[in-house]
């Protein structure tokens, strides 16, 4: 355990140094929050353009979803970019691989900093939404148990997704730098981050319901803004036809998050180990490409 912790913490310190110590904290923070804030503003303007300024709770819906999604976008890049950095740029991956530390643990350490940075982006986006855009927020109404449960599983799920993408990046060439961005963009469609799942075709709704991130976003949104529109349920949605009621309860959100999250986490480890074995078989650990 001590050795494992030592490997993880050393990797986390290196990851943070590589990502963050090239500038002063103010510039770093400005760059970190520019992306999530802009992503939220794109959606806010889209909503305002169509609603003519009478968007009501929809603004809160898109700001919360977009803010949470920024953690996914930043966080899932952590491990895959570590693989690409260490293999293609620093040429250190082979040395990390043959070190006594567990390879996955080292990568987790290298990537954890980006997840935390993504979380900062989420918090700042939500704060700007509340303070600048005037989203109604009452701290006294927060459902703390659901929030803590949802936030914890959210962290785990972002790490799990990052592990899967690291497994992909072990197999592919240098231009995979943009793959995490592409994967996050695609998941954006089926997780109900910025629009209710009910507007999607049935098969895509089903795909959304088995995606843990869908339940995470819904749980955190419900916990922070009780009574806000549901991203999962709604009249005519697949959830409503399966569950028999329109809006999922807090207990349903928590249980669904546990079930999908546990399966997703286990699957990510299996996928990574398979990828690792294939990479070793085919000599991909120290392969450098470039186009």
């Amino acid at each position: 355990m001590t050795a494992a912790w030592r490997s993880f913490s050393a990797a986390a310190r290196i990851g943070w140094a590589v990502d963050a110590n090239w500038t002063d904290p103010f510039v770093f923070l400005a760059l970190v929050v520019a992306k999530p804030l802009s992503a939220a503003l794109i959606l806010v303007v889209m909503v305002q353009v169509i609603s003519g300024g009478n968007a009501g709770p929809l603004i809160a819906f898109v700001v919360v979803g977009s803010g949470l999604w920024s953690m996914v976008t930043a966080g899932i890049a952590g491990l895959p970019l570590s693989v690409l950095d260490d293999r293609e740029r620093y040429r250190m991956l082979k040395y990390l691989y043959v070190s006594p530390a567990d390879f996955l643990l080292v990568l987790l350490g290298r990537g954890v900093g980006r997840i935390l940075v993504g979380a900062v982006g989420s918090v700042v986006t939500l704060a700007v939404g509340i303070v600048v855009l005037g989203i109604p927020f009452d701290p006294g109404r927060i459902d703390w148990p659901l929030f803590v449960w949802g936030a914890g599983w959210g962290f785990v799920m972002v790490v799990a997704l990052s592990v899967v993408l690291a497994a992909v990046c072990l197999q592919v060439r240098q231009e995979a730098w943009s793959y995490p961005e592409a994967a996050a963009g695609a998941l954006f469609l089926v997780t109900g981050a910025v629009f209710p799942l009910g507007v999607l075709p049935g098969p895509l709704q089903a795909l959304g319901l088995i995606t843990p991130l869908t339940w995470w976003i819904a749980a955190v949104r419900t916990a922070l803004f009780p009574g806000s529109p549901s991203s999962i349920g709604g009249e005519g949605s697949l959830f409503a036809s399966l569950a028999g009621h329109v809006v999922p309860t807090s207990a349903e959100l928590a249980i669904a998050l546990l079930a999908t999250g546990a399966v997703g986490t286990l699957a990510s480890v299996v996928v990574f180990r398979l990828s690792e074995r294939r990479a070793k078989d085919r000599g991909l650990i120290d392969q450098t490409t470039g186009s």
């Binding site: 999530p36 802009s38 303007v45 592919v172 060439r173 963009g185 695609a186």
Partner: protein, 307 residues
């Protein structure tokens, strides 16, 4: 003066001069290139730098999933935002057009702007500088190779999204639309060349800066909504960012230019803005590249890796 020759074979073949495949009397004479030789060398450099990108696209099949299918799904997410809001159908067209054009912007940011920085880390940059060619040819080759990949992605996203979401185009000036599209690409890649020379001076901030060049640029360019809605910010974007002015013009030309599709400026005027941007950006790229190369040489940054 003795002319170095390759050893003739025992079979009596005639001896060949050692200087780059042509008869010259000295190394100094060999260094004098005709205009034709110089142009052919630059063209070879363009082809040589474009080649790995085209081949990589054909060899690495995973890019079809990650650079075509997944971005199509990301574009679809914004389509469904508008559908959830019950927006007029033109807005879905805006998203589809914007989704197609992001392929080029992403290519400019990831595979032009940040490329020289990555080439330096990989050890290729010093070889580029040592080779008898202009670095602009390398950048142009990157652009040509990148255009192959991003055009494929853009066309597929546009075609599939148009079919799946039933986007209706209303084009009356095909020639102007095509001209605006080509000018947008020229200005975008000119901007990419400027950014590439700036990235030469930067270190690990490159990744953060590429991130900062994405969503913030999408927002001010009005990727999914008419840029005119941003007021002064939109006007500033149209004056400085090729993606903003190109999208605004193409939107007007592709969807009729009335109602929600009305733009900030008439498309003809925006085409002129793009011409000016292309000239300015390419000139600046040439200037920046020369200036920053000199500065990087003085500060010893051309071969310093991983800082």
């Amino acid at each position: 003066m003795t002319v170095p020759v390759r050893a003739a074979s025992a079979a009596g073949r005639s001896a060949r001069p050692a200087f780059v495949g042509r008869v010259t009397s000295s190394p100094a004479d060999a260094a004098v290139w005709s205009r034709r030789q110089a142009i052919l060398t630059e063209l070879r450099a363009v082809r040589g730098r474009a080649y790995p990108r085209v081949r990589a696209a054909l060899r690495e099949k995973s890019w079809v999933l990650f650079e075509i299918l997944l971005p199509f799904l990301a574009t679809s997410a914004f389509v469904f935002v508008y559908r959830a809001l019950q927006a007029p159908p033109e807005y879905v067209g805006f998203v589809v057009l914007g989704g197609a054009m992001t392929a080029f912007w992403l290519n400019v940011v990831w595979m032009m702007a940040a490329q020289l920085y990555w080439e330096r880390d990989q050890g290729n940059l010093e070889l580029y500088f040592a080779a008898p060619m202009n670095l602009m040819s390398v950048l142009f080759g990157m652009a040509v190779g990148g255009l192959f990949m991003s055009s494929t992605r853009a066309v597929i996203v546009l075609a599939i999204a148009t079919y799946v979401y039933g986007v209706t185009f209303s084009v009356s000036e095909w020639a102007l639309l095509l001209a605006v599209f080509v000018l947008t690409l020229a200005a975008l890649y000119g901007l990419g060349m400027i950014l590439a020379s700036l990235f030469l001076m930067w270190g690990r901030e490159a990744w953060q800066l590429t991130q900062a060049l994405m969503e913030p640029v999408y927002f001010v360019s009005g990727l999914n909504f008419p840029v005119v809605r941003l007021g002064l910010l939109g006007a500033l974007a149209v004056a400085t960012i090729p993606l903003a002015v190109g999208l605004d013009a193409m939107r007007q030309l592709a969807f009729g230019g009335a109602g929600p599709t009305s733009g900030l400026l008439p498309p003809g005027l925006e085409a002129l803005v793009l011409v000016a941007m292309t000239v300015v950006f390419l000139s600046l790229a040439r200037f920046f590249l020369a200036t920053l190369e000199q500065r990087a040489r003085r500060e010893g940054r051309l071969t310093v890796r991983w800082r």
